[in-house]
């Protein structure tokens, strides 16, 4: 019995020493991890906007960092998930410095109901989470939220009532289009295609106009577009009512809208 009791006593002592040693070394190691998050870089491609966030992790501790997973979820004001972006590092060994680029890439056309964000300013909620397993003994999970103001590239889009001007040979439909580019990222460089359709949905006139509205610079003056567009139409097929279809085509998105017309005075 004495030997059993002595063995159990020693087992307890050894386990306590191991536990205390582990706690002290883990705390010491965690204090020796340097994390340096750099300035996010904005990369604007043809069809997407990318924020590249650089981070340097300097592991000067005595344990490795396993399964580091950085995830960013962007949600709209109602909590609907717009996009999810993850970066994964399987291992940052001790005495190792690791450079991570966490990329958050927005492709407008891949966002559900993205057209609503073309004409309305809003605040997106960015949910960041960092998951890691420290020394394969302490899984940690960090969560923090931030908001990202979203400026609509076609804010306050207004299409005036179409007018028709006749002369002896042809008819010109004219309408005014105006909007402001509230987006600090999107350079609206593309075309605005305008089609005039009669009552039978036949295309009776079409014209394309270049648009070039620079992104908002943050100085309080929003770059604006305000043009009166003229479209020659086929008089023989012109009906009293119909619609005008406007299609904004840029490398980043395409947006279509229709406005009805009624030329009562002509018929």
């Amino acid at each position: 019995m004495k030997y059993t009791l002595r063995a159990l006593r020693w087992a307890t002592i050894i386990l306590w020493i191991l536990l205390v040693f582990l706690i002290i070394t883990l705390v010491y190691s965690s204090f020796n991890i340097g994390i340096d998050v750099g300035e996010p870089q904005l990369l604007i491609g043809d069809d997407r906007i990318t924020w590249a966030i650089p981070a340097k992790i300097n592991n000067n501790g005595i344990y490795g960092i396993y399964d580091l997973n950085i995830t960013t979820i962007i949600e709209d004001a109602d909590g609907a998930i717009l996009l999810k972006s993850s970066s994964f590092v399987p291992l940052i060994s001790k005495e190792e410095m690791h450079q991570i680029w966490h990329n958050i890439s927005i492709s407008l056309e891949k966002i559900p109901n993205y057209q609503a964000y073309l004409t309305n300013d809003t605040d997106f909620i960015m949910k960041h989470s960092i998951r890691l397993n420290f020394a394969k003994a302490v899984p940690c999970f960090f969560i923090f939220n931030s908001t990202m103001p979203w400026g609509a590239p076609l804010y306050n889009l207004h299409v005036g009532e179409p007018n028709c001007q006749f002369n002896a040979t042809h008819c010109i439909v004219s309408l005014n289009v105006s909007f402001e580019n509230h987006s600090p990222y999107i350079n609206l460089n593309g075309t605005l295609k305008v089609e005039v359709l009669n009552q039978n949905e036949e295309k009776i006139g079409m014209n394309s106009f270049p648009i070039n509205v620079p992104p908002y610079q943050g100085n309080g003056n929003y770059p604006a577009y305000n043009e009166t567009l003229s479209i020659p139409v086929n008089v023989s097929k012109l009906t009293r009512s119909g619609k005008v279809r406007l299609t904004f085509q840029t490398s980043m998105f395409s947006y279509e809208m229709e406005v009805p017309y009624e030329f009562e005075e002509i018929f």
């Binding site: 009791l5 307890t12 306590w16 302490v138 899984p139 999970f141 960090f142 969560i143 923090f144």
Partner: protein, 155 residues
């Protein structure tokens, strides 16, 4: 009960009291060193748990007093067993089954300390087993001690 004479009783109380006070002083020294070494954010993190830590050390000091006071009796082993059981349940409750979450400014930190909880529970289970065996050993020796004079008388 022979051992609980008036003089012996006051000595026991004194000895037990000193041990209990030493445990509590040890807590203050550890707490002082830990809290002065920590940076503000970590202090805030642990600060939420300071009533739990203080409560734990008060309970341990009470157990130390009672165990020392009842030393040489079977109650000592019963109290040691109770202490181990208390430590296990206290740790499970205080550490929220090993998963603790803390908020520092707008950052939520979730720590999975189940590995350490498991280790602490294992240590206390071994301690409980040791206490039970010690109690059996104590009773065995006590029985032997009671038997020996009568056996000698027969011879």
């Amino acid at each position: 009960m022979k051992r609980f004479s008036k003089r012996n009783l006051s000595l026991r109380i004194l000895k037990a009291g000193v041990k209990a006070v030493l445990v509590y002083i040890a807590y203050f020294i550890i707490a002082y060193f830990i809290f002065t070494l920590l940076i503000q954010q970590v202090y805030e993190l642990i600060g939420e748990y300071s009533p739990f830590i203080e409560g734990f050390f008060i309970a341990i000091a009470v157990f130390v007093f009672l165990i020392e006071f009842s030393s040489g009796t079977i109650f000592k082993y019963m109290l040691e067993f109770a202490r181990s059981l208390f430590v296990i349940f206290y740790l499970i409750i205080a550490l929220k089954s090993g998963i603790i979450d803390v908020n520092i400014q707008n950052v939520t930190l979730i720590l999975n300390l189940q590995f350490f909880l498991l280790m602490l529970i294992s240590i206390n289970l071994i301690e409980m087993a040791r206490t039970v065996l010690s109690a059996i050993d104590f009773l065995h020796e006590k029985a032997e001690g009671e038997l020996q004079p009568s056996a000698g008388a027969r011879i």
